[in-house]
C-alpha cells in the first residue's frame, strides 16, 4: 500500500455530531478528539492543558457523558454525539444552568479550566441532580483549577443544581 503507518498513520473517515451539527472529515487515525474539535470542527472553547489526561481542561461530553477529549481518538467518536462548551446554551441563546451558576458565583478567574470544568459539572449534575458539596468535589476531582481554590466553582455547581435541572444532553 506504500504508506508508512508509523509516521503518517491511515486516513479514517469520521462523521461526528458536534453540538447537533454533523461534522464529516477524513482524518488521521491517531487524531485525538480534542484536536478534531478544535481544528476540524473549529470550536476552540475546549482547551488542551496537559496531554496526559490529568487536568481535565479538554473535557467534553461524548453521548452525554464527560470524557477527556485528549484521551479519545476522533475515530472512536465516529457515529457519536459530542457536546462542547459552545453547545451548552439553548437554541434561543439562553445559558445553561451551569453557565448561569459560574457567572453568578464568579466560578472562574483566568478561565482556562472553565470550559472543561463546566462540561464535567454538566455530566455530574446529569448523574446526580442534587449533589452535596462533597459529591461536587469528588465529581470534579479530574479537573484542575489553579486560580480559584475550587471555592467558587463548587458554589457555582451547587447553585446550578439548585436553580434548575440541566438540560438533557444528546445521547
Amino acid at each position: 500500500v506504500g504508506r508508512d503507518q508509523r509516521s503518517e498513520g491511515w486516513p479514517v473517515k469520521v462523521a461526528i455530531g458536534v453540538n447537533g451539527r454533523q461534522v464529516e472529515a477524513e482524518v488521521e487515525d491517531r487524531l485525538l478528539l480534542a484536536h478534531f474539535v478544535r481544528e476540524v470542527a473549529g470550536l476552540t472553547a475546549t482547551n488542551i492543558g496537559c496531554d496526559t489526561t490529568s487536568c481535565g481542561a479538554c473535557t467534553v461530553l461524548l453521548d452525554g457523558e464527560s470524557v477527556k477529549s485528549c484521551t479519545v481518538l476522533a475515530a472512536q467518536a465516529d457515529g457519536h454525539e459530542v457536546t462542547t462548551c459552545e453547545g451548552l446554551a439553548g437554541a434561543d441563546g439562553r445559558w445553561h444552568a451551569v453557565q448561569d451558576g459560574f457567572h453568578a458565583e464568579h466560578g472562574l478567574q483566568c478561565g482556562f479550566c472553565t470550559p472543561g470544568m463546566m462540561m464535567a459539572a454538566v455530566s455530574l449534575l446529569a448523574e446526580n441532580p442534587d449533589p452535596t458539596e462533597e459529591e461536587v468535589r469528588t465529581g470534579l476531582e479530574g479537573n484542575i483549577c489553579r486560580c480559584t481554590g475550587y471555592h467558587n466553582i463548587v458554589r457555582a455547581v451547587l447553585a446550578a443544581a439548585r436553580d434548575g435541572q440541566p438540560a438533557q444532553e444528546a445521547s
Binding site: 464568579h106 483566568c110 476531582e141 479537573n143 481554590g149 475550587y150 471555592h151 467558587n152 463548587v154
Partner: protein
C-alpha cells in the same frame, strides 16, 4: 505580615475618552485572571462617571503600552490601579477646561455629575455636556492622559490563618477540614475579586504544605515534569474556606489599597503544616518537612514511636 509592591518600580496607565463617550484604559499591569478589566473599569467609572460597559481595558500589547512593569508581588491595584485613577484625574481636568470653554462658564463653577456622566454648571442640569461632546471638541484623538505612579514605600498587609487538620495515624494521610482566614489588604475595591485572590492563594499554600513538590533525581533530572508526576491539588483535598473581612487602609497610595494576591499562600502553608504536626505531636512528632505527604507523616509517626 508580608511586604507587597516591594520592587518599588511603579506602574503606568493611559486613559483615553473618545467622541462616543467611551473610555479605553491602557494598563501596564497585564491581567491573567485577577480581574483587572473589572477593577480598572470600576475605578474609571468612579472617577469620570463613564459607565463600566463603555470602558475597554487594553493590556499586554507593547505597541500600545511602551512602558510597563507587570503583575506580580501583589502590586497591581496599589500601583497599576492608582496610575489608572491618576490618568483619569488628568483627563477630568482636561475636560473641565474644554467644558468651561464650551459652556462659557468659569472652570470653578463646573461640576462632573458622576452618576449621569455629564459636566454642567453647578446646579444647572440644562447646561449639561456629555463626555462624547467634550472629547470631540478635544480633537481627533479625543481626551487622553498618561500617568505613572511610584509609591513612596511598599505596603504591609497582615492577617491570620487557622487550619484544622485530621491525620489518619495508620496511613499518614492529612486532611484539611477547616481553614479560617483574616487577610487585611486595606481598602477593598471589589470584594468578589479580592475573595477570589484569597481563595486561590489559600489553595496553593495548602498544596505546598500537603502535596506539591518539584523533585529531582541525584543527577538533577526533574522527576515531576508533568501533571502525572506532580500532585497538583484538586477539589477533593480542600474544604470551602472561611474568610473574615478586615480593612485597614494604607496612607501610601490614594486608594488605601495593599496587596492581596499572595496573602493566601503566605498564611496557609505554615498554618496547615503546624496543624499536621500538632495533630501527631502527642505521638512524639516534633517536625515534618513539607510537603506533609502520607508517606512522610507515616514515617514521622513510626520514627517517633520507635524512639520512645
Amino acid at each position: 505580615v508580608e511586604i507587597t509592591a516591594g520592587d518599588m518600580s511603579g506602574e503606568t496607565a493611559r486613559v483615553v475618552v473618545d467622541d462616543k463617550g467611551a473610555a479605553t484604559v491602557f494598563t501596564g499591569s497585564s491581567a491573567h485572571g485577577q480581574g483587572h478589566h473589572t477593577a480598572w473599569a470600576m475605578l474609571v467609572q468612579e472617577e469620570l462617571g463613564i459607565p463600566m460597559e463603555s470602558i475597554t481595558v487594553v493590556h499586554g500589547d507593547t505597541d500600545a503600552i511602551p512602558e510597563a512593569i507587570g503583575t506580580f508581588g501583589s502590586r497591581s491595584l496599589q500601583l497599576g490601579g492608582t496610575a489608572v485613577v491618576q490618568a483619569a484625574g488628568v483627563v477630568k481636568e482636561q475636560a473641565r477646561l474644554l467644558a468651561a470653554e464650551m459652556i462659557e462658564a468659569a472652570e470653578a463653577d463646573l461640576e462632573l455629575d458622576t452618576v449621569r456622566g455629564t459636566w454642567q454648571v453647578r446646579g444647572d442640569p440644562a447646561s449639561a455636556l456629555g463626555w462624547g461632546q467634550i472629547a470631540e471638541r478635544a480633537g481627533p484623538d479625543g481626551l487622553a492622559a498618561d500617568a505613572r505612579f511610584d509609591a513612596s514605600a511598599p505596603t504591609f498587609p497582615f492577617g491570620a490563618h487557622l487550619a484544622v487538620v485530621e491525620v489518619d495515624t495508620e496511613t499518614g494521610k492529612a486532611t484539611l477540614v477547616r481553614h479560617v482566614t483574616v487577610d487585611d489588604a486595606g481598602r477593598i475595591l471589589n470584594p468578589v475579586l479580592a475573595e477570589g485572590q484569597r481563595h486561590g492563594g489559600i489553595a496553593q499554600g495548602v498544596a505546598q504544605a500537603l502535596l506539591e513538590e518539584v523533585r529531582y533525581d541525584p543527577d538533577g533530572n526533574p522527576l515531576t515534569s508533568t501533571l502525572v508526576d506532580y500532585a497538583a491539588i484538586t477539589a477533593t483535598e480542600l474544604p470551602s474556606f472561611e474568610l473574615v473581612a478586615s480593612e485597614t487602609p494604607t496612607p501610601i497610595n490614594p486608594l488605601g489599597a495593599k496587596g492581596i494576591g499572595e496573602a493566601g499562600t503566605i498564611g496557609s502553608t505554615p498554618a496547615v503544616l503546624n496543624a499536621v504536626i500538632d495533630a501527631v505531636s502527642h505521638l512524639g512528632v516534633r517536625h515534618i518537612d513539607m510537603p506533609a505527604t502520607p508517606e512522610k507523616v507515616w514515617a514521622a509517626i513510626n520514627e517517633a514511636r520507635a524512639g520512645r
